[in-house]
């Protein structure tokens, strides 16, 4: 029964993650910890394994149809990985609770921005291309995303999709697809670290990965058909859920519940 629940959770997380360019951890980790009582130290590496699977499954379709920007992904990935390595060095120096509170507040702001309907940007001609702008902002933001991923264990999608969309002039669907491509390598590195230390529960990961791959395949097909405005609002909801998780994490870190 548990395996069927995990399969279903993976299916939902993979579907949502593929459409929005996030890893699905925002769904999977609470589902495993709160729903199934799985210890956090097992849930996190299993969730990271699912992020890799989701990225591989969805990004193959996005790259093939030229929705994911391979060049932009390489540029931003370098900054993200550099930030993550730097974050790993300073992890012991900064209280994660304060970082979580600030990040949670930022996510609330970003979520509100995405939820507010805006006048649609000048429509690209069918099959038209765009040119990313403001690379310094993109690289700086990706550096911060990498540091946050090392300090808080969050994926890059919730930061990078709004960063590319609002800051770099990248269409939302391209941003989501490119984020989907990028999260695979950072999650792969993290899960490799857990696996080397013997903290990856493959029995837990197996049904999750199968579900995620099926969900990601479906999600990548749906994403191109769904209106951008709907995707943005859905992303706003997910960001808000993540914001609540971060604010809770920060709050209980600073004022532990006895």
């Amino acid at each position: 029964m548990t395996e069927w629940i995990l399969l279903g959770a993976g299916l939902g997380a993979g579907f949502l993650g593929a459409m929005l360019g996030i890893g699905g951890g925002v769904i999977l980790v609470p589902a495993m910890v709160l729903g199934l009582g799985i210890p956090l130290e097992e849930a996190v590496p299993a969730s990271l394994m699912c992020v890799v699977a989701s990225s591989c499954g969805a990004a193959s379709s996005y790259v093939e149809h030229r929705i994911a920007d391979v060049r932009l992904a390489l540029s931003l990935e370098l900054a993200t990985v550099a930030g993550a390595v730097a974050g790993g060095f300073v992890a012991g120096l900064i209280a994660p609770a304060w970082i979580a509170l600030v990040f949670g507040t930022f996510l609330v702001y970003t979520s509100a921005n995405l939820a507010v309907p805006r006048a649609p940007a000048a429509a690209l001609a069918g099959g038209g291309t765009y040119v990313p702008t403001n690379y310094p902002l993109g690289i700086g933001g990706s550096l911060v995303a990498g540091v946050l991923s090392a300090l808080l264990g969050v994926g890059g999608g919730p930061i990078k999709v709004p960063l590319m969309t609002f800051g770099m002039g990248v269409p939302f669907k391209v941003a989501a697809a490119t984020s989907n491509l990028m999260i695979g390598i950072t999650a792969a590195a993290s899960v490799a670290g857990y696996a080397i230390r013997g903290h990856l529960n493959l029995g837990l990961a197996a049904p999750l990965v199968v579900g995620v791959l099926c969900g990601a395949t479906l999600g990548s097909r749906f994403m191109v058909r769904v209106p951008t405005s709907f995707l943005k609002r859905l992303f706003a909801v997910v960001l808000f859920v993540l914001a609540v998780q971060m604010l809770w994490k920060g709050g209980t870190g600073l004022w532990p519940i006895r």
Partner: protein, 119 residues
Amino acid sequence: MAVPTPPPAPAAVAPEAAPRARAMEGEKAIARVLRAGAVLGGGCFAASLALELLPQSARTGIAIDDLRKAGASLLIVTPVARIAIAGALLGMKGELRYLLYGAAILALLGIALGAGFSA
């Protein structure tokens, strides 16, 4: 007697045009690598789940474990291969900075793993 005219049909809503990223040669190769990793890795995990339905024995247990390790390894290696291939393809087309970016990413990841960090 005047024949009532039917109301005009609502204008068909044109599907939203999907924006496209800048073209690069080798996209299909990158997509195939990602798809192969996903299918093979996922296939190993799915096979391990199928084996769990069989009567359990020591051999079955070992096979399940080996399949899961193979699946995890394939999935972890796939994004690494993607970066290497993308950087190499763009480098061969004269876009050397992407070759350097790819090499730098892989070097940083190696450092992170060696130092025991999670990227």
